[in-house]
Symmetry: C2
Subunit: 136 residues, 2 copies
Amino acid sequence: MKKLILIIMLVVIGLGGFGCAQQEIQRYGMVLGLKEDKIPEYTKIHAAVWPGVLKMIEHCNIKNYSIYLHQLDDGKHYLFAYFEYTGDDFKADMEKMAADPTTQKWWDLCEPMQIPIKNRRQGQWWANMEEVFHTD
Amino acid sequence: MKKLILIIMLVVIGLGGFGCAQQEIQRYGMVLGLKEDKIPEYTKIHAAVWPGVLKMIEHCNIKNYSIYLHQLDDGKHYLFAYFEYTGDDFKADMEKMAADPTTQKWWDLCEPMQIPIKNRRQGQWWANMEEVFHTD
């Protein structure tokens, strides 16, 4: 019986370890301009993002999503975003997000406050940056 | 005996859950300029950061550390860093890192390639940005 208990414990520990093992993730770093006179409003709405928007982010396999703001030497204000994608079809998930009416309303609110930078690929709003370093 | 096995299983599952529970973390987003003519060298050395530097990063409780590069509308190139701090004394850990001879040599190599931005606090090299949004 002691053996049986030991085996059960080992199996459960093994399953527990599997359950919290880190998923394969793709990291994204992105940049976008923010109009100076819109900073208070942008900051305010981002302190309380609509639940439906957050739900869609989660539903589309985006995790650990942060946005930072800073004024650079050209006097302009920039937003830097970092998030982790844990799904297996980023394009499809982004299409799903773009088709969500709540997310569309949120973007309609945010986009007039933002200024996309010139150095971005066709179809991008936030410009994808190049990852030059990563350590876990 | 069945009860005993059930209790052991529940305890082990509980401990397993505790073991992989997310630690309390502080997130940092930082920005710094990079000289255009130094991009190839900076990118190259960051693709193979010295093991001693990586070890010190880990030793100082910094995790999930990424650096991104992008050219903005002023024609200048910027580095955006994101990392997570899991210790309980960031200042002390940063002092420990700054006192490490290998890290000092690494910084001596990197700093001449970088241009700190004007909008930073005294004593900063990388400028800390303001977090305006986060979702797990």
